[in-house]
């Protein structure tokens, strides 16, 4: 496949998905042109819109990176949303309950670390079920999403609820645990630098190290990998834990950089969107960056579309699903015959 096609196909997939979603809107009696205009305005219209798109792209890049990594190795981690929630929960718990016991300079790094560790742990549950009990990670990661969602819902009306007990939300994170904004920015925070840098690190890991070669070998052919003294079980666990850590970090960045406190359902629709991001990126770690911007623009614009064109924002999910369907034909490696 030529390099030109590698770039052209994702663009075509996105365009066709947008056109089909527009047709659906027209069928339901909405004005697709007005919707598209509102969507573009919400995503790129002014500096705040651009910052919103960038802020949404951060977690999508990290989650999409985790999905790309695991799908590439033939492991179906559908649990990015739950792992993100676990990370947001742990970062909030640390920042609001024990950050004051630590030197101020350590509060933020430890909160981010707590998030990554919790995401890794949440994914490790699925890894343990897969390795020791032969449970498909597809089902376990999806089910753990629901468990994480309820766990956060419980936390924000239980142990982590704000001191005033008015709303189901945590106290605001202390300033020491917050990510700073870029100079002059409204909402764009420096955590985005981390989201922009990690795809390069994962790319280097996958394509420039022996550990990365072992991971990719399991994706190509687990049996052949076993003959080469690579343990598919161990690599499966590693991939799940690493992609869980990325998702957990995304959750920590959300609470430390964007929301400033924990609310119910911190993942929103990010978990599923990340799958579309990874497939549009053709499972390439660096492709995740532009792909996350595409879906971040859709997410940022979707809200504006609902407000000004009265078109439900969930129509964005239709676009995501269509992008996935149009991408699978060329993004995933064809498996060997039965």
């Amino acid at each position: 496949m030529t390099r030109a096609r590698a770039f052209a196909e994702p663009l075509v997939a996105t365009a066709v998905a947008l056109a089909l979603a527009g047709a659906l809107l027209a069928l339901l009696g909405a004005d697709p042109v007005a919707a598209l205009r509102a969507l573009a305005g919400g995503a790129f219209g002014d500096s705040l819109a651009l910052e919103t798109t960038a802020v949404r792209a951060g977690p999508l890049a990290l989650l999409g990176l985790g999905v790309a990594l695991s799908f590439r190795c033939g492991i179906w981690n559908i649990g990015g949303g739950g792992q993100l929630a676990a990370g947001a929960l742990a970062a909030t718990a640390f920042a609001t309950k024990s950050a004051s016991d630590w030197p101020g300079a350590l509060a933020l790094p430890l909160a981010l670390l707590a998030g990554a560790a919790a995401g890794a742990l949440w994914a490790a549950l699925a890894a343990a079920l897969r390795v020791y009990r032969n449970v498909s990670e597809v089902l376990s990661t999806i089910l753990l999403n629901f468990v994480a969602l309820e766990l956060v819902a419980w936390a924000v009306q239980g142990p982590l609820q704000e001191a005033s007990r008015s709303y189901p939300q945590s106290d605001a994170l202390p300033a020491a645990a917050r990510l700073a904004l870029f100079p002059g920015a409204h909402i764009a925070h420096v955590g985005l630098l981390l989201a922009a840098a990690l795809p390069f690190a994962v790319w280097a890991l996958l394509f420039r190290t022996a550990a990365g070669l072992r991971l990719r070998a399991v994706g190509f052919n687990p049996d052949a990998a076993r003959y080469a003294a690579v343990s598919p079980e161990l690599e499966t666990a590693r991939v799940l834990v690493l992609s869980g850590a990325l998702a957990g970090l995304a959750g920590a960045i959300e609470v430390c950089g964007v929301t400033g406190r924990l609310f119910a359902d911190p993942a929103g629709g990010y978990g599923f969107t990340a799958i579309a991001v990874a497939l549009l990126a053709r499972l390439h770690p660096l492709g995740v960056l532009p792909a996350s911007l595409v879906f971040a623009a859709l997410a940022a614009g979707g809200g504006a579309m609902q407000r000004s064109a009265a078109v439900p924002s969930v129509v964005v999910q239709v676009i995501e699903a269509l992008v996935i369907l149009f991408s699978i034909g060329f993004a995933l490696p064809r498996r060997e015959g039965a």
Partner: protein, 293 residues
């Protein structure tokens, strides 16, 4: 039996019914070698279609037909990608789930801008005293699926396609046709399961109302070791767990509500951890067939 126990038993059966319907359909699909994780989305599409058609016409039969149509359309989309184009079934099924979530949400919000004026869907009643029509259908389905798979020539062909597609093909069976039929059948069952949510368990549609029931049904197929009777038993176990959860909630037991809501998912994980490894899946499950189409 005192009144409370009776009520618990009754809600157990009611809550088990959609799970059994969806899982029995998935059983047939998996026995033919098709792993369809899109049944969650097909249930959701069936639920919305049943609600819209039922609320508009007042006829439960029309509602059921609409649910079948919507779910089968999604099943055909799944088959088009997963079978015909040999795309990965996990990714295809996930896309179907996201599509159903987004499309049902968009349609519902556009069709009912003011949600306060929602009318209720017609309810399906009992065929025998205490036996709801959907429950009766699930029991009938369990019996006929078991008979079909074990005692008929067509069932043998379907199992052959799931166990060893190439050998079945060499025998002159059409692998593609049998897998398409099994996928559509599984989709239809998921559609009926979704319809039961609005025609029996509740009378409204709520966005995302399936809430993982399709995934629990997938787990039940594993728990039931790909056998109809054990799948029904598993569905009853889950129905009992959910019924107990509602009873505790109604009795104001001092447990936080979200922790109660977590129980069905934790139970599913536990059941998978205990039984999934022992279940022998059809040998050619989720493997693409590269012979003639």
């Amino acid at each position: 039996m005192d009144a409370q126990t009776l009520q618990l038993a009754e809600s157990t059966v009611r809550l088990a019914t959609p799970l059994a319907l969806a899982a029995l359909g998935e059983l047939v699909a998996e026995r033919a070698g098709v792993l369809n994780i899109g049944i969650e989305g097909m249930m959701l599409a069936g639920a919305l279609a049943a609600y819209e058609a039922g609320a508009a016409t007042g006829s439960a039969l029309v509602a059921l037909a609409a649910a079948l149509l919507a779910a089968c359309a999604l099943a055909a989309l799944f088959a088009l990608f997963a079978l015909r184009r040999r795309a990965d079934p996990i990714v295809t099924g996930t896309a179907v789930n996201i599509l159903a979530l987004g499309a049902t949400g968009s349609m519902f919000r556009l069709l009912h801008p003011a949600q306060a004026m929602l009318s209720s869907a017609p309810q399906v009643g009992d065929v025998l005293p205490g036996l709801n029509a959907f429950t009766a259908a699930a029991l009938l389905l369990a019996g006929s699926v078991a008979l079909f798979l074990r005692r008929t020539r067509a069932g043998l062909s379907l199992r052959a396609v799931g166990e060893r597609a190439e050998a079945a093909d060499a025998q002159g069976l059409s692998v593609a046709r049998i897998r398409w039929a099994a996928t559509l059948f599984g989709g239809a069952c998921a559609g009926v399961a979704g319809a039961s949510l609005v025609l029996c368990l509740s009378d409204r549609f709520v966005e995302g109302m399936t809430n993982g029931k399709g995934f629990i049904a997938l787990a039940l197929v594993l728990f039931g070791a790909h056998r109809a009777a054990r799948i029904v038993a598993g569905a009853l176990l889950f129905g009992a767990a959910s019924a107990l959860q509602f009873t505790l909630q109604a009795a104001h037991v001092d447990v936080a509500y979200p922790l109660l809501l977590m129980v069905p998912y934790l139970l599913t994980l536990l059941v998978l951890a205990l039984f999934a490894g022992r279940s022998r899946a059809p040998a050619d499950l989720a493997k693409p067939f590269h012979g003639r189409d």
